[in-house]
């Protein structure tokens, strides 16, 4: 638990027209850990992710990645730093094939983006990488299907594949299991865990499913109304009084 800090926010705030969505959040994420963020809907988890990945700019505060201030970097830079991010609602290219979706993701960091005189299929390294990733998430049989034709669960897998393709160090996963059939959930979580372990990656996860969160995370941050309510290991969180009254409530115990 004493590995170096990879992601850090300092007094991060975001207002939307008078509504404070993220309120003075200070978080330290350590390298090679599984860090979950939980909290009721509207607690500002997705907004917090958007701030980390640079999709929106904070009203005040700083985001520091590997000791470097990336607060005001444009959004397309984050992946170049090594931060991959998935979305709560599948965010893919609906009218391109599954293969093309992942290929575009793996090509992004290469130096061949403006070689418009050569066919895209001439760059074998990206295609190979694409096949590797597709195999990893279990979509290699559907490579030539249009992404919009995929069932919901497979779209989530494709989304995961798209952020794995450039091989980032940090994965920001915004409810990767949202809308998935529940028998598929453990499979996907196992996959994520495996990727984290095998590749020395840091995973940050927003998730509603408490069973999942409690079983996989090393560290949990509870957000409530934009602010951090509590932070700690799963055991600490489960025992925390504040968390129980504000979020888990009596129902949590019944649910287990």
């Amino acid at each position: 638990m004493d590995s170096e800090i990879i992601f850090e926010t300092i007094n991060l705030c975001k207002e939307f027209g008078g509504l404070v969505a993220v309120d003075n959040v200070n978080i330290k994420v350590r390298k090679n850990t599984f860090h979950a963020i939980i909290g009721p809907n509207g607690a500002g988890k997705t907004t917090f992710f958007n701030l980390l990945s640079g999709n929106i700019e904070p009203t005040s505060g700083k985001v520091i990645y590997k000791g470097r201030d990336i607060t005001h970097q444009p959004v397309y830079r984050t992946i170049h730093f090594g931060v991959g991010r998935s979305f709560q609602i599948s965010n893919i290219f609906p009218n391109l094939t599954v293969f093309e979706n992942v290929r575009l993701a793996s090509q992004a960091l290469g130096a061949d983006n403006f070689k418009f005189w050569r066919s895209a299929s001439a760059f074998k390294q990206y295609e190979e990488r694409t096949w590797v990733v597709l195999k990893r998430v279990g979509l290699q049989e559907r490579a030539n299907v249009f992404a919009r034709m995929l069932p919901h669960g497979d779209q989530r897998k494709l989304e995961l594949g798209m952020i794995l393709a450039p091989d980032p160090e940090v994965l920001l996963l915004d409810e990767p299991t949202a809308g998935m059939a529940s028998e598929q959930v453990p499979e996907l979580i196992a996959l994520i865990q495996e990727i984290q372990k095998a590749g020395d990656k840091t995973v940050m996860l927003v998730e509603h499913n408490m069973n999942v969160v409690m079983s996989v995370s090393d560290q949990i941050t509870v957000m409530h109304q934009g602010a951090v309510l509590a932070e700690g290991t799963p055991a600490q969180i489960a025992a925390n009084k504040d968390v129980q009254t504000a979020y888990l409530g009596g129902l949590y115990h019944l649910n287990l």
Partner: protein, 234 residues
């Protein structure tokens, strides 16, 4: 038994996906019926099909003894069906009062129901002039239910009322739903089995677009095997 709503073997397509492949739901008058099932099983689509928002291609839907499938959704709604959607769909630029007033089907609906709504959700009275965008998740959920109560609806379709709410709020909401079930029949889609089992009298389990099991909630709570099999967790 006297069924207010009788859905008979409906098939619904969204685009080219065969989402509902034979769902039958019978809702006894004056009860709370819960639609259970996993995420993506087709519960929300069932509600939307009843309301004509995603019209079924096959099958029959009887409401108060009349066939309503194929009618336009505003016609169906004005027969007396209130809908509380999953994402609440509060009109952001309208004030709370306007959000309620817009649900009027005849003049004076809002004035008549005001008292009832505010005893059910005292919070809303305080927020009456706020615009929808400024409400928190729980307040939005209350407003969405209140909105469905403004018109004379004898059937309420409530989709995932507890989703994303803090447990404290869920308990509050459960009380409200229990209270209003004295006035109208409720069909409830609920992920949280605990909430559903405490509220509902009857249940229907939907699995992969088909209704597979129905019965009394009392029997289900004792039937651990079924719960484990269809709902995964308990």
């Amino acid at each position: 038994m006297d069924y207010i709503l009788d859905v008979q073997d409906i098939h619904t397509f969204i685009g080219q996906y065969h989402i509902l492949q034979g769902v039958s739901v019978r809702v006894p008058r004056g009860s709370i019926t819960a639609l259970l099932g996993r995420n993506g099983a087709g519960k929300t689509t069932t509600l939307k099909s009843i309301l004509g928002l995603t019209p079924p291609r096959q099958g029959k839907i009887m409401f108060e003894g009349n066939e309503i499938q194929g009618m336009l959704s505003f016609n169906i709604a004005s027969l007396g069906i209130g809908f509380v959607p999953e994402n609440r769909s509060i009109f952001r630029d309208l004030s709370v009062e306007e959000n309620l007033k817009i649900a009027e089907r005849k003049k004076g609906d809002y004035a008549g129901k005001k008292g009832f709504i505010f005893t059910l959700f005292p919070d809303l009275k305080r927020l009456i002039n706020l615009s929808g965008i400024n409400l928190s998740g729980g307040q939005q959920q209350m407003l969405a239910i209140a909105r469905a109560l403004v018109a004379d609806n004898c059937l309420l379709l409530i989709d995932e009322p507890s989703e994303g709410l803090a447990p404290v709020l869920i308990e509050q909401l459960m009380k409200a739903i229990q209270q209003l079930s004295a006035y109208s029949t409720v069909v409830l889609v609920e992920q949280n089995f605990l909430v559903a089992s405490q509220l509902a009298e009857y249940y229907v389990i939907i699995e992969e677009g088909r209704s597979v099991k129905e019965g009394k909630m009392k029997d289900l709570t004792n039937d651990k095997a079924t719960i484990q099999h269809y709902l995964g967790a308990a």
